[in-house]
Symmetry: C2
């Protein structure tokens, strides 16, 4: 009588996970050392060995972000949760916030800020461009926001937004600076303390090369002061940095239980950070830039056009090229996947149907993989140009 | 000049993860098949193979919950996030909600509901007891809430709360029933559809035996109607079931990108559900009850006293015993860990310092592990009773 739902037959078959080469905008492939770590035995969320790994991950994030911020940790969530954690901790209902919208991530941040009751103002430019300081200062001066949000690596458009002067500018207007570096960290420079960034977050599954599921994040003393000054609690327990910070031993107090950390993902991120630390930030950035240069040269030789016109604004980690006139991007994507198990992606948000996106991230940012991707793309374009090619 | 934070030396050493036997209230040990799956290559969050695995996981959760609900999925979060997702989707600011507080989980749910602007009322009983129908009906009748929250397996007290009549009762009062089955699902019966539960969630890391990081959850048509009737959006994008449900293809529409799913955890949960399905619900519950009986008999033979007085209210998955007079629970716990790498736990929330908690979950619910735990506990008690025993 009780059993009304039968055993699903699909679960009686073996799990099927193919090996692919992920040359899209992320997730990227994980190094074998990272994948191996994921299969290690589970530890309790307050076991001393787990806490040591949390400390190591924290130190690795501080290095990757170039910050001495005490409130530095990995939130148990995707990159989206990094954005949520920034918004929910810093916004109180009625606060004015300014969002730079130059792709999907600004739109998403505006959506989240609205849900938290903010008075959301935006500055906007067309997809493929970046904001100049003047436009940002005009926005800050006009709207007087408590928080300014901007994406450094706009993975939907392939734009690398300059941010090094923004902290100083925001602080002149008594405004906190939140930077989304999900798709850029490790591929371009980000110096959190030197550039006076108040909240910086990234994803585990991009340049760092860990599986998705953790969002490294850090809050400056200014950002902490804003959290401390709140008159109502952070609306979401799961994102509450005061408690989560205590779980990560960021405030010098004994650790408290906040949630059960996904410890396997922590192992993976720990190993990914160890690899990152062994290589060093500058070498890692140089490698991404060298690979991007080779890729960009190769794309030009194939007669392809960049979506981002200004060369200096092209993100090394995510390259966007215009879909050649008369071709269907889905045919190109499908050919690469079917024939080579190689992922290249279409557009996202404002670039859907308009671009092909090629990612160069972490373990996949090597000259060999660039050359392979160019070869596959060349074949895929030939295939797509043939008459009567079907999806 | 830019590099101001040096490479952390701790990350240049190898990762250290010891093998432990987790006989606490969770996480429990994962079967080798689950751990192996965690190390499989990462897939993109919208790759067809990933979507197939999501479908398999959904079917497995529907079976485990005994529900035909379309809106059934795993939220990318710990069990805490399952609680958050229930609260944030069903509560609109100003709604009256009733929370049954008989341990830490009711307290936590009340805390979350308050953050979402609910008018929170509680019914309370001492730790170690369970609510009778009369008390619950009195609460519903007095407070007329839109939502009633109760924990089936109170892991902080070891109480198994009867819930089979609650759906009918709540619906009589036009109230939705939310059940936390994080520590109970698979160890005691839960029949979501038959018992008219409106939201049911659990954790991946308890009886199911996957690593922590995913929270299986399901919403009834009544719960969906409440979500559909909202006048303001769900305050948290990450928990928004209308978008997340589309990502999981719950509403018959094309999948949309909501966040990057922690695909490695999905592999682990898929394999854990496959093992659960192969064994079957009834056999799994019977195994947990058989092991709990053996454990309880053994504990009595050791002269230990149960924290939960009524025998029928003792949770098979988490057993709480009173710390014997004059002994320090930390000495007992430490002895077991140091000498046998075996975890037994202290109390949590209202039971801190008062109880020792022994978990029997999933892969660890075997007669052999029960006997080993009893043997280790006996030794640990002897050790703790010796004079001059230090922590």
């Amino acid at each position: 009588m009780h059993i009304q739902v039968d055993r699903p037959a699909t679960l009686l078959k073996p799990l099927f996970v193919p090996q692919k080469l992920l040359m899209g905008p992320g997730p990227s492939n994980c190094p074998p050392r990272v994948l191996h770590a994921m299969s290690l035995p589970v530890l309790g969320h307050l076991h001393p060995e787990c806490c040591s790994i949390m400390d190591e991950v924290k130190a690795g994030i501080q290095y990757a972000f170039q910050t001495k911020n005490a409130l530095t940790l990995a939130v148990s969530t995707s990159g989206h949760g990094g954005m949520e954690a920034s918004m929910s901790n810093l916004i109180e209902s009625g606060n004015t916030v300014l969002i730079a919208v130059h792709g999907i991530w600004g739109q998403r941040a505006a959506n989240m800020a609205q849900r938290y009751g903010a008075d959301v103002r935006t500055i906007n430019i067309p997809a493929g461009e970046y904001f100049c300081m003047k436009a940002i200062e005009a926005g800050l001066s006009q709207h007087r926001p408590v928080l300014f949000f901007i994406t450094q690596g706009e993975s939907s458009t392939g734009v690398h937004q300059p941010i090094e002067q923004l902290g100083l500018l925001c602080h002149k207007y008594n405004c906190l600076l939140v930077v989304d570096a999900v798709a850029s960290l490790g591929g371009v420079p980000v110096y959190m303390d030197e550039w006076e960034i108040d909240v910086l977050y990234t994803g585990s599954q991009k340049v760092l090369g860990a599986p998705p599921g953790l969002a490294p994040i850090s809050f400056s003393p200014r950002a902490i002061a804003k959290i401390e000054s709140r008159t109502i609690p952070v609306p979401v327990f799961y994102w509450d940095m005061k408690i989560l910070g205590d779980y990560w031993a960021c405030f010098g107090k004994p650790r408290v239980y906040h949630h059960t950390i996904p410890v396997s993902l922590l192992y993976g991120l720990r190993e990914a950070l160890a690899i990152f630390v062994e290589e060093g930030i500058n070498k890692c950035i140089a490698r991404h830039q060298m690979c991007a240069k080779r890729l960009h040269n190769g794309l030009e030789k194939l007669g392809l056009e960049f979506f981002v016109e200004k060369e200096e604004a092209r993100l090394p980690t995510v390259t966007t090229i215009k879909v050649p006139r008369g071709l269907d991007w889905r045919v190109i994507q499908k050919y690469a996947m079917k024939t080579y198990c190689l992922e290249i992606s279409g557009g996202l948000g404002p670039t859907v149907g308009k671009v092909i996106r090629i990612g160069l991230m972490g373990y996949n940012a090597t000259l060999e993989k660039v050359d392979l991707t160019l070869k596959v793309l060349q074949e895929a374009l030939l295939h797509a140009r043939r008459p009567h090619t079907n999806l």
